[in-house]
Symmetry: C2
Subunit: 228 residues, 2 copies
DNA sequence: TTCGCAAGTTTGTTGCAACAAAATTGCGAC
DNA sequence: GTCGCAATTTTGTTGCAACAAACTTGCGAA
């Protein structure tokens, strides 16, 4: 059991225990620590995080209002189970928003940025080689958001992050496909080239492709688990 | 002081007091009851809404995590004061998202929908004639969301709603321009025609225009209050 | 064996009091 | 009169206990 009181007091700029609990839950969600359908109870979260019920409740409430958790009954919130409809809609929104962010980021492309992205891509590949799926997903997120943040549009980045939060848990369902296909590599390569040339349209296209490729896999996994 | 306990118990599908408080605050925000910069304190909200501190705190937390309220200090949340940068960014996002929603809604256009929109437009005009600015804004929101909801994309509608929540309070700053210019009328007329013909591109253009027109006014108001 | 109801258990909600930190006020010295 | 420090007030945070609603379990009757 980790002690969030220390994290809140010293570490990552979390002012309150509720804040620390929220951040911790958010990271766990993105890292796929909780699977779709998992039931979140105030007391269980409080136990897991070593805090009392109030901060745990705060975290759950915030996550729910962002759509990272959903109501499954009058008194139960769960990690969302995304159906094909949801996946399709979220993908459409992601293309609109992440396409926008990448296009706006293109003019800020530089040698340094491309180098950093290349480094991150190296970490993705290494994690894939090591079979560490969670690490690969994490670095994949870093790759995307490093580009999105270049545009200097904080509201947009926050909205995109909340989208990733919703899709995150489902990403874990497509284990071995992701590792085998390495679908991101080509698209990421294209993205880096587009960024080097500051070509907004090309950068957008690369990211849209990446999102669509991911969607195909996700849809596959959704169908598989729907049959089960 | 209104009694939310009754609202939660009987009325608009609010399961808990915290939920009812959240909805009430949301509506007040969109209706412009609170001005930008207004400081939200737990105890004040609890007093206003006639509930204890816990549901009030819940509501403030949820609103904050959605961006409808923002942190202004270590221990203070306020109604956001949007600068020109924020306004520009939010407008860009709105065009991407509301443009998408309207385009996807176009194929569902029908005689009935256009009739209803025409009715809503009538209410906007009537409110404007009566000088009732709040009513006009409210019906304006109805007009937009009636179209957006036609597409059947609930995640998208929720995200757009959270954008309106951020801009809502600032809308009140542009009183008398809105009433005088009646900027929405032409664009809404175009939208209804496009919807009748199920022309996605035209519908998107009409809404994009509407958003941009609103942005011009908002920017004007932001500059005015920045000078003050 | 199966169905149904009742008792017990789990779980979210709410109000509140104690605590800590920040802001404000007021008093006194210079 | 002004500046600075200390006391007071305001305010967010946290933990907890009481309550209510939903769910689960198990026993008994058909």
């Amino acid at each position: 059991m980790l002690d969030l009181k220390i994290a809140a007091g010293t570490g990552g700029q979390a002012a309150s225990l509720g804040d620390a609990a929220y951040r911790e839950m958010k990271e766990r969600l993105i890292r796929g620590k909780y699977r779709p359908g998992y039931k979140m109870t105030v007391r269980a979260v409080a136990e897991d995080l070593g805090v009392s019920s109030t901060p745990a409740r705060d975290a759950i409430n915030r996550l729910t209002s962002e759509g990272a958790l959903v109501y499954a009954g009058p008194k139960t919130v769960i990690v969302p189970v995304l159906g094909e409809q949801d996946l399709k809609e979220l993908t459409t929104i992601r293309i609109a928003l992440e396409g926008l962010a990448s296009e706006k980021a293109a003019p800020f492309g530089s040698e340094q940025h491309v180098e950093l992205l290349d480094e991150i891509q190296g970490r993705i590949n290494a994690a894939l080689d090591a079979g560490n799926y969670g690490e690969a997903l994490w670095h994949n997120k870093e790759f995307h958001f490093h580009v999105y943040e270049m545009a200097g549009l904080p509201h947009l980045v926050a909205m995109i992050e909340s989208l990733w939060l919703r899709v995150g848990p489902s990403l874990y369902n497509l284990y071995p496909e992701f590792a085998q296909e390495r679908y991101g590599v080509r698209n990421h390569q294209m993205a880096m080239e587009a960024l080097a040339e500051r070509d907004g349209a090309a950068l957008r296209a690369a990211f849209e492709n990446d999102i669509r490729d991911g969607y195909r896999l996700l849809r596959l996994a959704a169908r598989r688990s729907a049959r089960a």
